[in-house]
């Protein structure tokens, strides 16, 4: 392997004059670049794959945002009695079919849970209203249509179930109070 790399290195240095020391620096830069990209991907993917509660703190100087909510009129269908998963998909989305399968399966097996698939290109108003920047993005709505939490990227059934349990738990608590 090392011999191989050396052969490549010398071949490249003969191709490009004065590349000897520059080559080592460039190779190091490539490794650093790819390591940084991997790290950024890992952090982003970890963060995105969880259902995150909605950010309610207003930015300085901005009025407090009202609770984001979707109505059955927005969706042209009834909301789930327990929860509704709203998925934003798009034509160029490679991960969307996988997420759609997970949510369809969940809606079929969990009572009171509905699943809605929104084609983002046709609903840019909703995309802007809910600050959707990538597909798939999934909003989890409570029975009133208020956005409880959201996630993006690949989705496992376990993560979706956990978010559902969290929502049910909080709804029960608010009824008790």
């Amino acid at each position: 392997m090392a011999v191989h790399a050396n052969a490549v290195t010398s071949a490249l240095s003969s191709l490009v004059p004065a590349a000897g020391s520059g080559l080592a620096i460039r190779a190091t830069l490539i490794v650093v670049l790819l390591a940084a990209a991997s790290g950024a991907w890992w952090v982003t993917a970890r963060r995105a794959s969880r259902f995150r509660p909605l950010w309610r703190h207003p930015l300085p100087g901005r009025p407090e945002a009202p609770v984001a909510a979707l109505t059955s009129a927005d969706l042209s269908r009834e909301l789930g009695a327990r929860a509704t998963f709203v998925q934003f998909s798009s034509a160029t989305c490679a991960t969307c079919p996988q997420v759609r399968r997970v949510l369809t399966e969940l809606a079929a097996t969990e009572p009171g849970v509905e699943q809605v698939d929104i084609q983002s290109e046709d609903h840019m108003d909703l995309v802007r209203r809910f600050s959707v920047y990538r597909t798939p993005t999934v909003l989890l709505l409570d029975p009133d249509g208020a956005v409880h939490s959201r996630t993006s990227g690949p989705l496992t059934p376990a993560r979706a179930l956990a978010a559902l349990a969290q929502l049910s738990q909080e709804s029960t608590r608010s009824i008790d109070v």
Partner: protein, 163 residues
């Protein structure tokens, strides 16, 4: 806000896309292609600036042109995957829509094309810069299956004028 959303597709299939979905492709094909592209881009970076690097980046650009024109399965990497790699693999567990990776080829061509354009205009460092940007995208696709170009699609739609 003026357009009121018509019924979002409630069923599990996205039936409201105008044209029928084309036949699926093996999702490992684009990733194999991205690995080849990443290797070519890494060599481009190692070459630094100069005619050799520019030539290699032009080759990568031509591969992207094939991908834009015929889809990823029609690029040289795609054909190589079909001929030599896929027969050695187990059948894929699921197929993938060929449109997202094809859109990503457009993004790749824009990045690499911009690098070549600026190099031609007298900024030789544009070649390694464009190669580095494209390398990150190709590497993430090959290593983790993340299609960075596909992620840009919705951003581009959001930037389009609001009606």
């Amino acid at each position: 806000m003026s357009e009121s959303p018509t019924a979002p597709n409630a069923s599990s299939r996205s039936a409201d896309t105008a044209e029928p979905a084309p036949a699926g492709i093996d999702p490992r094909g684009p990733r194999f292609g991205a690995a080849v592209t990443a290797a070519l881009l890494a060599i481009t970076l190692l070459l630094g600036t100069g005619p050799a690097a520019t030539t290699l980046l032009t080759v990568v650009a031509l591969l992207f042109v094939l991908g834009v024109a015929r889809g990823v399965q029609g690029t040289l990497q795609g054909l190589a995957f079909k001929a030599w790699v896929r027969p050695r693999l187990a059948p894929p567990s699921e197929l993938e829509d060929p449109r997202p990776p094809r859109f990503a080829q457009v993004v790749g061509l824009l990045v690499v094309g911009a690098g070549l354009l600026f190099a031609a205009l007298g900024f030789p460092s544009a070649v390694p810069i464009a190669a580095a940007v494209a390398l990150v995208a190709a590497f993430l696709n090959a290593a983790f299956g993340l299609c960075l170009g596909c992620e840009l699609y919705l951003l581009q739609r959001r930037l389009a004028p609001q009606h």
